[in-house]
Assembly symmetry: C2
Amino acid sequence: MRNSRDFGNRAESKCFPEHIQSPVFPGISPCVSGNLFRKKRFYSYTGGESTAKILRVDMNKLKATCEDVPDKWKNLGGRALTSSIVAEEVPADCHPLGPNNKLVFAPGIVTGTSAPSSGRISVGGKSPLTGGIKEANAGSSFAQKLAKLGIKAIIVQGQAKDKCYLLNIAKGKREFLDASPWMGRGLYEAYAQLMEKFGKDAAICSTGIAGEISGAAAGVAFNDIEGMPSRYAGRGGLGAVMATRGLKFIVVDDEGGPGVEIADKEIFKAGTKKLVAALHEHAITKPGGTLSSYGTDALINVINEAGALPHRNFSSGYDELAPLVSGEKKAETIKKRGGERPHVCSPGCIIQCSEVWVKEGGKDPVGVLEYESVWALGPNCGIYNLDDVGELNRACNDLGVDTIEMGDTIAVAMEGGVAKFGDGKRAIELMDEIRRKTPLGRILANGTEFTGKAFGVTRVPTVKGQGLPAYDPRPIKGIGVTYATTPMGADHTAGYAIAPEILGVGGKADPLDTKKADLSRGLQQATAFIDTSGYCLFTAFAIMDIPSGMEGMVESCNGVLGTNWSVQDAVNLGAKVLATERKFNKAAGFTKAHDRLAEFFKHEPLPPKNVVYDVPDAELDKVYPD
Amino acid sequence: MRNSRDFGNRAESKCFPEHIQSPVFPGISPCVSGNLFRKKRFYSYTGGESTAKILRVDMNKLKATCEDVPDKWKNLGGRALTSSIVAEEVPADCHPLGPNNKLVFAPGIVTGTSAPSSGRISVGGKSPLTGGIKEANAGSSFAQKLAKLGIKAIIVQGQAKDKCYLLNIAKGKREFLDASPWMGRGLYEAYAQLMEKFGKDAAICSTGIAGEISGAAAGVAFNDIEGMPSRYAGRGGLGAVMATRGLKFIVVDDEGGPGVEIADKEIFKAGTKKLVAALHEHAITKPGGTLSSYGTDALINVINEAGALPHRNFSSGYDELAPLVSGEKKAETIKKRGGERPHVCSPGCIIQCSEVWVKEGGKDPVGVLEYESVWALGPNCGIYNLDDVGELNRACNDLGVDTIEMGDTIAVAMEGGVAKFGDGKRAIELMDEIRRKTPLGRILANGTEFTGKAFGVTRVPTVKGQGLPAYDPRPIKGIGVTYATTPMGADHTAGYAIAPEILGVGGKADPLDTKKADLSRGLQQATAFIDTSGYCLFTAFAIMDIPSGMEGMVESCNGVLGTNWSVQDAVNLGAKVLATERKFNKAAGFTKAHDRLAEFFKHEPLPPKNVVYDVPDAELDKVYPD
């Protein structure tokens, strides 16, 4: 059984005090980062200009036209770009599924270059799940092909009146094809057929059956390297925004594309080299390290031992059955069955946390079973059978729903009497309700809070309407601060306080200490930058501990853009992204009253530690005092 | 066919300018009311002290205990009292169906006395439909019996763990009986059995099957004078709050009760005399007048002719079929079939707008078919058959759902493809889904917005999650200002701008004039006072036009309480109630972004006038500038 020390497995840095601090991010460890970067500019501006374009897709007119990138957006990518476009072009008070919402795609700044682990695509819009701004991202060759085609962002607007379309993008080509033949059909089958039609090297983005019924739990699916729909910008219901535009698929071929322009190749090369070195050094990200050996699911045992793995709809933080669905158990099973592990989610990843989970006999490949998915569809539903979890995960991918939201949803439905906790077979049947678009399926496809209302359940683990991820906030206060205050709704990736609180990465913080506003804010800012850069968030493990890694990350962005950002500039950019997102949410009607965990966390102690969530509201409000 | 002049049928007061003004309410017509009342105090304080008590019902312990009324609440009743108690005792951030919400009942100030048309019971709590504070009220002998028993308010708190209870209240008696035998059964049957058990003179309050499944459209039902469950505090889902306390029924017997103490009988008598005179004089409220002849449903033709009767989910403001469900047609049919009309909803009503609708042959009495109910379940669903409407209304009463919310819900479901507009038989079947507690029934029982989400409908006519009543705001701007800004969510009774905009009552206002903030604010304040007094809101028609009527209303309250309120004091009290409610909502997370109509009203012109809702946000924000 693994524990937190094994997961982190790094020598403790003696120079750090016990309290929250990080050697890299200014927001988290001002003293150290101040020493390192002290407003120093690394590089002079090289004047490189991107020739990349914005592709504006008007679904009313079925037209896709290229536009120059306005100066204000030239140095942005990923989340900074999608959030800026959404904030500027989408009325905050619009109906998320109505005619005035837009869906925006943007690869990160370095995406499409040789930068390691950077195949990230950011997707943005107004969320039908939270009612606020939403950014979700995924790792997929789709991101890289878009970038290599010279497309800095796609803005999908309007609503096709008659049917759903497939947008086929290649060099000099933007065609709209009838997607009706794939309506109501699973995405595994659809992706296989599309690969046949457009070639095995095509990249695909799609919305599934859950999106077709406007489910607020519907994600946007992207292809993995086998061409399966297992890579998801899952959270917040953006799949329903895509479907209600009348867009079912985007297929991209980058052949003959101009590639990503790099303003200063030397700087870029030096930067990526430093980052690669850090990733290769850190115990979590190095070859043969935690992530490549076991994947993210290595966290099952760690978080269970910390008493913070939510079992049976957040009723307990520990269960002795958890190791049955651990990363260790899963890796062993994959090996036995002839699946793949380690594996990349997109070309050029050197962390390789991914895998291909298969059934007995190597059948029905699913793609990766992430920690969050395994937890959500497993222990959170009282299910400790990896095959059931694998089948549920495959159903989520096939139907186009977010695994976290769906796991929370099924658990709440179980509490509401729809099924018994632990009944994996019944849970699998529930997924079929979505496929058949029944009233029950429509309830489930709308997520945790909706399902709670439908079945009269008041223990509903959400923030801003979005289901909580795999860390109960009661014994780990900092992640709760992130859940509560991020503009995204409950989202662990928005400011992963688990790193210092449990894993000993990026410094160390007592998980029970309630003073976590500064920690969470710093992490949220740093994360907003990483989500902008195009790098996988898992690079954070290395760069939080190894300053030259963070330096290298920022340098590589400077190399692409011709900027001369310091690490502080990068974090400031993250802060600006958050301010933009919060401004949108404020206009949409969000207040500090929405920066709160669901009520029951404050009143119901979580076994085995028997603690409630006791971070004072004033501490939560300290994260964003404006 | 009736029109607005017939409905109002009053001589125009020459002294009023054309724009918004009223001879009575200071907020609406400061000049005139200023002349009339000019801070004058009518009566000296007589020192009368109420001996009425608050009955606190703890469902955790199954105990009901009497408490003295704190001084600050002694002069309150009805809405002022329920809203004050909710604001003080319910945490604004609690889950409406969780352990920390409370359900509060309070008769009005004059309820239980001989004051005319004053049998109103106010019900308050945090709404599961809007997420904000909620006050809904009904006319029923329940209110009068409670007052006569010396109960100024009931506060229901806690949650029974094992089952649902019946609370039986009589002089010196508070017993909890097992209500399990009535779970899952219709309220018409239950009320008949309870009348048999507790006597035909018993008063009953209940939640129905919709409440049992925690439906946010569940209302609180009260008995009419036949003992049927046709009087509803319908809006905002308070029936679900009642059910989740573990309380299914309250049965009240007032035999031997002390009656309502009247501090100054002379003043009380003089006041009620003036009010009675006004009610007897005004064309709408007098015997043989509009309300007693046709009931509220007389508005069908008036509002249809004004192009503002919403047909087929707010798609058109006029349809030539509307007269088929008009008050005139209904009165004629009732007469033919041997139902009753006019009729009182509670003893002592001199307006007598009520009726007993029956099927062919006098079968299956329903109770009243109000204008709002007929519209919601009729034209709004494309249904123009009074028998279908009657059956739908009976089903709503039987299941314990709000007719307005259910009509909006069915119409949205129809737009979502669940049934065809106009298919009354299918609509009736849909009600049976609630009875059988199916997933579809659970969707419908959660109301308009929920159903819209379930079926991907974006034309969802709500404000703050509550379905719109029977006046399309696009051609009648002022009622839209009330819908948008009242703390209650879309609610015509919160500030009935239709009176001056369409009926020529309380002055005259151009319905298309977008400057309506002052009008709506004044009406909301006056209404909050009337809802506090215990008088039926329909007294407003008379007192808005006849100053001595309003004087009499305030005098009668002074007579009961021993206060010396002026009309201005009364309106100020209304303003205070609104401020209390808005403070609660603010703490619950409401902002000006919630004081808006659903988006489509701003973009989609309504035939036949082809107007959109164009009241600027700034005008809406002027209603409550704080």
